[in-house]
């Protein structure tokens, strides 16, 4: 049976939960609130965790509820649920319907959904790396920190950093090939 480890939850799962939430609520502040609430609810009900799923899956199932609740709350305010469509400004003329239709050559919803899933797959693979490796890789690759800044923060030399990056990239590429492309 798995044992819960709330002390390391934030470091380990915050990014995964954040990427899951941000595409669903589209607001960084709300997303962070929902994540805090999720961790909190997890803490409160950790005795109910039966160890049938991984920690991450369990937290995601709580998060899903929180997101649904969030939409219920904002929709219960009267009038908010109505959708108003009108011209963007007074002067615009032309075919109203045509102007409001989505561009078929634009990125489709399906593309974006697939990209989101890809992102979660990458983060799940990052879980397999040692904690320090994963953090440094994320700083370098996702947050685009300078090599020097990271070296200073973690007190390592640039060649140390590149070794870490190299190992992380190798593991990630293998993991993705196994879990994503097949």
């Amino acid at each position: 049976m798995e044992i819960l480890n709330p002390e390391i939850w934030v470091d380990k799962y915050a990014d995964y939960l954040y990427n899951y939430t941000i595409v669903r609520v589209n607001d960084p502040i709300v997303a962070q609130d929902l994540i805090s609430e999720t961790f909190l609810a997890g803490l409160k009900s950790k005795d109910n965790f039966k160890g049938e799923a991984t920690e991450r899956t369990w937290l995601i199932s709580i998060l899903k509820r929180k997101i649904i609740d969030h939409y219920r709350k904002i929709n219960s305010k009267k009038g908010k649920a109505e959708v108003h469509i009108s011209y963007k400004n007074e002067d615009s003329e032309g075919d109203w319907l045509e102007e409001n239709a989505a561009d078929p050559f634009d990125k489709t919803a399906e593309d974006q959904m697939e990209n989101t899933e890809l992102g979660l797959a990458i983060l799940a693979c990052l879980d397999k790396l040692p904690e320090k490796q994963a953090t440094i890789f994320k700083l370098k690759t996702v947050a685009n920190y300078d090599t020097e800044a990271i070296c200073k923060e973690y007190n390592i030399t640039p060649s140390n950093l590149w070794v870490i990056i190299h190992r992380a990239r190798k593991t990630l590429a293998e993991c993705l090939e196994k879990n994503w492309f097949n």
Binding site: P6, V10, D11, A14, D15, Y18, N19, I22, Q32, I35, S36, F39, L40, L43, K44, N115, T116, L118, G119, I122, L123, K138, K140, T141, V142, A143, T147, W162, I165, H166, R169, L172, A173, L176, E177, W180
Partner: protein, 81 residues
């Protein structure tokens, strides 16, 4: 200054290229090495694909301060209980 790279050096330059941090001369050396070495060609291909995937996924991370905020909130609330 030698011109031919060993495989581990080539891998190092290849990693740097993914972050646009390789020097021009090194990139040239890498190209030469890739012409001769099939294993490194494979690595280079996978490495580039990984970079592309990460870009396409449009990942977001929380900054250290944001994470600390969440931690603080958790601590505070669990004390209140």
């Amino acid at each position: 200054m030698k011109f031919y790279l060993k495989c581990n050096e080539a891998a190092h330059v290849c990693d740097k290229t993914q972050y646009n941090e390789a020097r021009f001369l090194d990139k040239l050396r890498l190209k030469m090495h890739l012409l001769m070495c099939k294993l490194c060609r494979n690595y280079s291909k996978r490495n580039a694909a990984l970079t592309k995937n990460i870009k396409a996924a449009n990942l977001k991370t929380l900054t250290a301060t944001e994470k600390q905020q969440i931690k603080n909130r958790l601590e505070q609330q669990s004390f209140d209980k």
